[in-house]
Amino acid sequence: MSEAANAETEERTVPRVPLFSPGRIWVLTMSTFTQLVRMKTFYFLIIFAVLVAAASNLNLLYTPAQKLRMLKDASFGAMSIFSWLFAIAATAVLIPRDLEDRTLYTILAKPVPRLEYLLGKLFGVLLTIGVALVVMQVLFTGFLFFREVTVLAAERQALEAQGGMSPEDIQAQLELIRAQGVQWQLLYALVAIFLKAGVVAAVTMLVSTFASSTLFTMIVATIIFLVGHFHKLAAGYWLHELGDSLVAKLVVKPVIMIIPDFRVFNVTENIVGGTPVTTGAMLALVGLALLYMAVYSAVALYLFIDKEF
């Protein structure tokens, strides 16, 4: 048989396996999502519902607007803590567990490129966080709406009974309360929390590709998360103090570059405080989060692609 014929025969016997398959990533994403759901992750939603119900029924000596703001503060606080904590814990556990159980062997022994495995795991965590956040947002918005309606009715009644105010003044007063009620801007807060969790998950995944244990991954990811909230501030001080010294070049500047700035995602406080965030600013935030995730995932892949199991 000629060489050309041989090559043709070989070409025919080589199975067509796409180098990149969104379908396979989706399979891994859904498997990770199912795994996390069946680990009873969503039980947290019950705790959240109780927390929001308790916060909405607290009748402290606040103004009506403050009562609504407190409900938003408590809800977004809980959503934020759940999302970053979950992003670290879930991502840190997934890959080492697959390795310990040798499930990773059976997956990578199938025609699954390592990039797809990593993306499937990351997207699975993000899908779980996304679904949990949406459910929490729906619950919280429901409570907020109910609280807003009751507070507005009570305030209107009180102002009318008090007398001496024109209908326009009453309306203006009620508008101030409505500004703390259900607003489209609350969705931006939800998106910002999700994006922050996404970056945390990508960082954790990167750490888990070279870490020797789940505990180490969790600790390092948590430290990065905490440092990411003040390192820009601290770096400004240190760079000012150290100038162009070797320490500044070898330590401070790399830390600023490597660790993401998580403070930029803290738009929730503005939204809760009634300061609107523009759509342009939100799009910039989405772009930044995607960039962070892409860079951390690329480095994770670089470390993972030649890793030996």
């Binding site: 070989e10 016997t13 080589v14 199975p15 396996v17 180098l19 398959s21 379908g23 396979r24 399979v27 891994l28 498997s31 199912t34 795994q35 069946r38 680990m39 159980d101 040798r102 499930t103 062997y105 059976t106 997956i107 990578l108 022994a109 199938k110 025609p111 699954v112 490129p113 030649d306 030996e308 199991f309």
Partner: protein, 302 residues
């Protein structure tokens, strides 16, 4: 001639040991071939390099030097994995999935979808006799059941090569027999099997060819019947021999001045187990000798 299922050529795998400038040679200049349709057994003591060889073949590790191919495709090429089904030693699959969901998961990874996937998953469950546990989560499976569902997932995409690492480790005799029967079934279907096992009796029973590895080196490789044949003895196989001829042969043997005796007909064989133990002993002695020589040369340099 058909492309070999597995082709390992001069494989060497070296692991660096922590931060010291020391290295562990896990596999050294190892070559083996698993022909299409045959059952090949790789046997060796713990730490001999069997699993490392298997992992390089599966693309889970890169060779330091040498090459490994699966049906002519380099092991590191993801396309080679389409042809492979792999069952690791003591596998633990996702405990949150049922048996049926597990097979669907692995099937989907191989591109199976819809009715074809469902039918294939059911077919595999029937093959490994797990239809009754179809909708039970794997967390509730026994070790033998996990091993069988592992074998089912390995075969879900109709691979041409099945790699089995200690497939009967920790499995009771009944489960072990079921797995052995499944290997026979694979062989009947023309599927190549690359098997690592400590159970020599089982290897002897199912394998066409065997490689014996120790200290990272291949010590003996070949068809099983050749390996276990006793080389310094001869067997005469006669067709249509008349009783008179046989009688003359017996008389000839009896008249031998050396006192030879015809005990029985048929080729005398040793057991694979005895051969294995002999080779391991031989390899250990060789290694000890090498070490002694190294020590002596170090001492001489000092």
């Amino acid at each position: 001639m058909s492309v070999p299922a597995v082709e390992v050529r001069n494989l060497t795998k070296v692991f660096p040991l922590s931060l010291k400038k020391e290295y562990l040679v896990a596999v050294e200049d190892l070559s083996l071939t698993v022909n299409a349709g045959e059952v090949y057994g790789l046997i060796g003591p713990n730490g001999s390099g069997k699993s490392t060889t298997m992992k390089v073949v599966l693309g889970l590790m890169a060779a330091t030097t040498g090459s490994t191919k699966v049906f002519g495709i380099e092991s590191r090429d993801v396309r080679s994995r389409h042809q492979i089904g792999f069952l690791p030693e003591n596998p633990y699959f996702y405990k949150h999935l049922t048996g049926f969901e597990t097979l669907k998961f692995y099937g989907r990874l191989c591109g199976l979808r819809g009715r074809e996937l469902k039918d294939r998953a059911n077919e595999m469950l029937a093959l490994v006799d797990l239809e009754v546990a179809r909708d039970r989560r794997l967390g509730g499976y026994s070790k033998g059941m996990l091993q069988r569902i592992g074998l089912a997932q390995a075969m879900i995409q109709r691979p041409r090569l099945v790699v089995l690492d200690e497939p009967t480790a920790g499995v009771d005799p009944i489960g072990s027999r079921q797995i052995r029967d499944l290997i026979f079934k694979l062989k009947e279907d023309g599927i190549s099997v690359f098997l690592c096992s400590h159970l020599l009796e089982q290897v002897q029973e199912v394998c066409d060819r065997v490689g014996i590895i120790a200290n990272g080196r291949m010590w003996r490789e070949g068809p099983l019947h050749e390996l276990i044949a006793i080389e310094d003895q001869t067997e005469l196989v006669l067709r249509d021999a008349s009783p008179a001829l046989l009688e003359r042969i017996r008389n000839l043997v009896a008249s031998d001045s050396g006192g030879a005796e015809l005990v029985r007909s048929g080729h005398p064989r040793t057991t694979l187990e005895r051969l294995f133990l002999d080779i391991v002993r031989e390899s250990r002695e060789a290694k000890a000798k090498e070490d002694r020589e190294k020590q002596a040369s170090k001492g001489a340099k000092k």
